[in-house]
């Protein structure tokens, strides 16, 4: 089985996002960037499938800026076999990303696609579902457990009501949640080895797809700040405030 994993380069989750001067987006000048955390889980799962003998090859795909090469190399250092960068300096919407995935899938013919359930920058939570729609494949979103059984896969999904189980035909798209696994760190020798692993670059424009954005961001702003609160001395004072001042109990 060949596994295709989508990965995105994003602002490090520990860094607080700040709106830029002209209020058009987030200021990413010199900001620390990293692999989207959910993508790390997707890469980890693919590597585990390979280690277990279920997968033969793990191919990682990123659609993004030239600097995403760094993120792809990181995935190669973690254990992916090969990387593809579809280069564009534009920020594509999930629908456009899904069209690119579809074009790559036509060449690569994977049996499983793993992507993170959401990117922590735009928080869209769309790409995996859209990829499966355009491929006419089944989807399993928000996976916290994945069991491949030949032609089908059993997936445990984290949903608002608890843990849901579904069975999907293969090939399938699975979007992963953080509790699926604990991602490993790349060892130094593997980081060195990753430099020699194949990384193919394609230009988005050469794919001949309509990837025009449908949404225009008119403005980005800071959310209103909460008013400063107070410290109370003890539990009795707290209960008093909640009863008499805030009147919420």
């Amino acid at each position: 089985m060949k596994v295709l994993v989508g990965i995105k380069r994003v602002l490090d989750p520990q860094v607080k996002a700040r709106v830029n001067g002209d209020r058009t987006g987030i200021d990413l000048t010199n900001a620390k960037m990293t692999m989207n955390p959910f993508c790390e889980n997707a890469v980890e799962e693919a590597i585990r499938l390979k280690e277990a003998g279920t997968a033969e090859e793990v191919v990682v795909l990123s659609i993004g800026p030239a600097k995403a090469e760094e993120t792809l190399r990181n995935a190669l250092a973690l254990g992916a076999d090969r990387a593809i960068l579809v280069h564009t300096e534009d920020t594509l919407e999930p629908l456009a990303l899904a069209k690119v995935f579809k074009a790559i899938v036509a060449d690569e013919q994977p049996q499983l696609i793993l992507v993170g359930k959401q990117a922590i920058d735009d928080d869209c939570n769309q790409t995996g579902q859209m990829v499966s729609a355009l491929l006419d494949w089944p989807q399993a979103t928000f996976a916290s457990k994945l069991e491949i059984n030949g032609d089908t896969a059993k997936v445990t999904r984290e949903v608002d009501g608890g843990l849901e189980s579904i069975d999907v035909n293969m090939p399938a798209v699975v979007t992963v949640d953080l509790r699926l696994n604990e991602p490993r760190y790349a060892s130094l020798p593997n980081v060195m080895k990753a430099k020699r692993k194949p990384l193919e670059k394609k230009e988005l424009a050469d794919l001949g797809l309509d990837t025009a954005n449908r949404l225009t961001t008119l403005e980005v702003s800071e959310p209103p700040a909460r008013d400063a609160g107070i410290l109370v001395e003890n539990v009795a004072e707290l209960v008093g405030k909640l009863k008499n001042e805030a009147k919420v109990i």
Partner: protein, 309 residues
């Protein structure tokens, strides 16, 4: 303009998120239809006819819709999409599952998790875990939208008189099969609809200490929530998680106990009306959003709180 709201329902009743989504549809303006899709969902459909502001309820009641699998749900939505200018679903795990699939089939860019309606084609949505708000304008003919339910009041559940009519479910794709839901057993109110929520974090040290919070919750008629660290450590089940990747809630009162206040946690609760933090570290970032902060050891403060209530 005609707007379709896709109802979230379970065991014959509408889930509260449906009412918030209906009021988002009303904020856009126009006739509001509700689609109730599922297996054995007639009583949920009846309930939808009572919601004030709904013109028509369309019911797809079919065994292929049991478990509301994304493939069959998306095909159904696509089959009736041309009747509408906007299609809305709650940004809960229910809506997030099939809406992007329907959007892609319709060649539409979905607008996820809107927090406000500016005009019928322009919406506000949080990005970067709520650290910024983006105002986005859609150029698509049909707009597919998921709704941040805490940002819209619930529509009135009774007094309406919508008509009801059946819709034929799309052919079963049989791409996937629903096996079941392992729900956590709880007598308490549901996290997303609770007026008061008491949440525990890594500071609770163990699942065995959660009953201490549950006793406080029971005195307040509250739900119990948790940080991701508490869920990851196995103290409580996944559906307790509040945050960027868990549930987004905005109760009247949120009590954070032994929770540091990471950006990703704040993303799920900072719209609460009143926030209380109990933490032994006075530098914990949770105090920056708390209306009332108590710097104390939770193992002293929580039992005391229980007896004071």
């Amino acid at each position: 303009m005609s707007i379709l709201v896709i109802a979230e329902h379970e065991n014959g009743t509408l889930v509260g998120s449906t009412l918030n989504t209906i009021s988002a549809a009303q904020a856009i303006g126009g006739d509001v239809d509700v689609l109730v899709a599922g297996n054995d969902c007639q009583s949920a459909a009846q309930a939808a006819t009572q919601v004030v502001g709904v013109s028509r309820v369309r019911v797809a009641d079919d065994s292929s819709l049991a478990g509301q699998l994304a493939e069959n749900m998306a095909d159904l939505v696509v089959s009736i999409a041309s009747d509408y200018s906007h299609i809305l679903a709650p940004a809960t795990t229910f809506g997030k599952n099939f809406m992007p699939r329907a959007s892609a089939l319709l060649d539409v860019s979905q607008i996820s998790d809107i927090s406000a309606v500016i005009t019928p084609d322009t919406f506000e949505r949080p990005i970067y875990a709520g650290n910024a708000l983006a105002k986005v304008q859609s150029a698509d003919n049909i707009k597919l939208i998921t709704v941040r339910i805490t940002k819209f009041d619930a529509a009135t559940a009774s007094g309406g008189s919508a008509t009801i009519e059946p819709v034929t479910a799309a052919a079963n794709t049989d791409k996937s099969r629903y096996l079941g839901l392992a729900a956590s057993e709880s007598e308490r109110v549901e996290l997303t609809s609770a007026a008061i929520v008491v949440s525990g974090g890594r500071g609770m040290q163990s699942g065995d200490n959660f009953p201490m919070l549950e006793r406080v919750a029971d005195k307040l008629g509250a739900a119990v929530g948790a940080s991701r660290a508490a869920v990851d450590a196995g103290f409580v089940p996944n559906d307790y998680q509040v945050g960027q990747t868990g549930k987004v809630i905005a109760p009247d009162l949120y009590i954070a106990v032994g929770i540091s206040g990471a950006i990703q946690h704040l993303a799920g609760m900072k719209d609460s009306k009143v926030i209380v933090a109990i933490n032994k570290d006075s530098e914990a970032p949770i105090f920056q959003v708390a209306d009332y902060g108590l710097v104390a050891d939770l193992f002293d403060a929580v039992p005391e709180l229980e007896s004071e209530l």
